[in-house]
């Protein structure tokens, strides 16, 4: 569990940037001799979390960074949802903030890439089961070179992250927190075989 102070609002301590830049200089010098290194090996995520939801849609957030050269995340997957997209939040024609799939994926440079409510995020489009606060969800990010970066994110209740989805159908991902009937589900978890029960697309 990392305790460093980093804010999804883009407010990053000066010392952190300096430290990352320092590392990167070293990494780029040695890069040519390790050209076959998988991109996923250089990626890390901090403060990952996913919004709780009873059903439907949800979103995952965190701070992605790389200790090497710039890499691009081209897709994501999770057992919690058979359909997951890399989203950005943009102003629509009417000025309303909308979410949509991000062309070209997530570019993770040496400086952090922040996935946060109101900004870029991993969009879970069809939950296979409720996401309960305090559970852990596994994610896999596929890089341009095909390598895969895996991480776990705890589920948290969160009232924000309600932008309208600018996809085939306009839906609101507003999701009541997984309250009320939480106790009815006992020790239900979503790891492993949860995706086998996914509905046909």
């Amino acid at each position: 569990m990392k305790l460093s102070t980093k804010f999804a609002t883009g407010f990053v301590a000066l010392g952190t940037i300096t430290a990352l830049v320092g590392c990167a200089a070293t990494a780029s010098e040695t890069a040519p001799s390790t050209a076959v290194a998988a991109q996923a090996d250089s990626v890390s995520i901090e403060d990952a979390w996913v919004k709780s939801a009873e059903e439907g849609m949800s979103a995952a957030f965190g701070i992605l960074s790389t200790d090497g050269a710039e890499v691009t995340v081209i897709s994501a997957s999770t057992a919690a949802s058979p359909m997951i997209e890399l989203h950005e939040t943009v102003a629509g024609d009417d000025g309303q903030m909308m979410m949509q799939e991000k062309d070209g994926g997530f570019v993770v440079s040496k400086v952090e890439m922040i996935l946060a409510p109101g900004g870029d995020h991993l969009m879970l489009m069809g939950l296979t089961a409720p996401l309960l606060a305090g559970d852990t969800v596994g994610f896999e990010l596929t890089m341009e070179d095909g390598s895969i970066f895996s991480f776990d994110a705890p589920v948290k209740d969160y009232s924000g992250a309600n932008e309208t989805y600018n996809g085939d159908e306009s839906v609101d991902i507003e999701t009541d927190s997984a309250s009320g009937s939480a106790d009815d589900r006992g020790s239900d978890t979503r790891s492993g075989s949860a995706d086998e029960g996914a509905p046909d697309q």
Binding site: M1, L3, S4, T5, K6, F7, A8, T9, F11, A13, G15, D47, W49, K51, S52, F61, L132, A133, G134, D135, P154, K156, D157, Y158, G160, S177, A178, S179, G180, A182, D183, G186, S187
Partner: protein, 417 residues
Amino acid sequence: MTQSDTNDALPGLNRRRFLWGGAATGVGAATAALIGSSWRDASSTAAAGHAEDARSAIHGALTVPFYGARQAGIDTPAQSHTVITAVDLVQVQTAEQVVRLMRLLTDDAARLTQGAAALADPEPELAIVPARLTVTFGFGERIVRLAGDNSAPSWLRPLPAFSIDDLDEDQCGGDLLIHVASEDLVTVSHAQRMLLKDTRSFGQVRWSTEGFRRAFGSEEASVTMRNLFGQVDGTANPRLGSDDLETVVWDSSASPAWLFNGTSMVIRKIAMDLDTWDELDRPGREESVGRYLTNGAPLTGHNEKDEPDFEKTTPLGFPVIAEFAHTRRARSSVPGEKIFRRAYNYNTTPTGGPVSDAGLLFLSYQADVDRQFVPLQQRLDELDLLNQWTTPIGSAVFAIPPGCAEGGFIGDSLFAI
């Protein structure tokens, strides 16, 4: 202590600048830890004659370690502000749910106490001034029993009824205690909100109460607090770091194994009738407690820490410290009937008539409630002149689980997964 030794070699002025200035720019965990353990040193230096400098000193970056064998916020020097909340975990029926909740709350507390935003914190800027923030968790009987019928210590239940009580059920009991304290009330409010938001899926707030002491730095940390009656309150308390406190609070030899490095907490919300107290003149006030108001010295002595002489009589043959005096009644001749108190004042909005709704949040820590707290409270219940102006209106007992290591959660010794 190594840190004090090092610090003593530096002029006070420079030391403070280094410590506080360093923390403000985020030098790192090592510096934060140093600050955490040396704050008393620094504050007493300030009070000793650097008033000008103390005024400009910034202490918001001071931290108290979260991870450790024991939870912080018990034998931590009491911070200026606290908010104590009991949550009824009405949706929680299984140990697995408790684990999910406590993982969330532990992570929140670990981050916030170190001056970092909680996960999914919409107001991260409010998290960067910990000001000695501590978060301490306790479990009520129902939650402990979710780990197994034999897991609850025998004392984990409501206190026996006392004749002086006028308890409001809405200010008693609860499944989960969340005790937040800091030198900064904004920090307390933010931490409380972040923690309580993570309890929403598991239950609802049963009661919550705020308490305060003197502001940080307004007097030396070693000064015994005064309650709103103006009395020096807690003179006989075991000193922080003493063997006495170790035995009183942390002797877990008679407790279930999971409570090793844990303890118990009794919370009594005691209303103080300041209006009728006003009718009592100074001699009467001093007689009610058996201590002088000026410095808390027993009526048989001169200094606060002087041992009361309960045998001493007046020329007329009456005891100097009256039979009904609080000091006499609170004292036990039975070894072990002793508690560690960490009280806070409260003062809320009065309703309908009186100009005050004030009192004391009496927080008492002891290894065994039945053996240590109950006999003492029974003696005070039978006879204590102070009862005339004080009324317990809230009461709760919690088991305080041990601390946890990074990666663990508060309660993991009970709900081992």
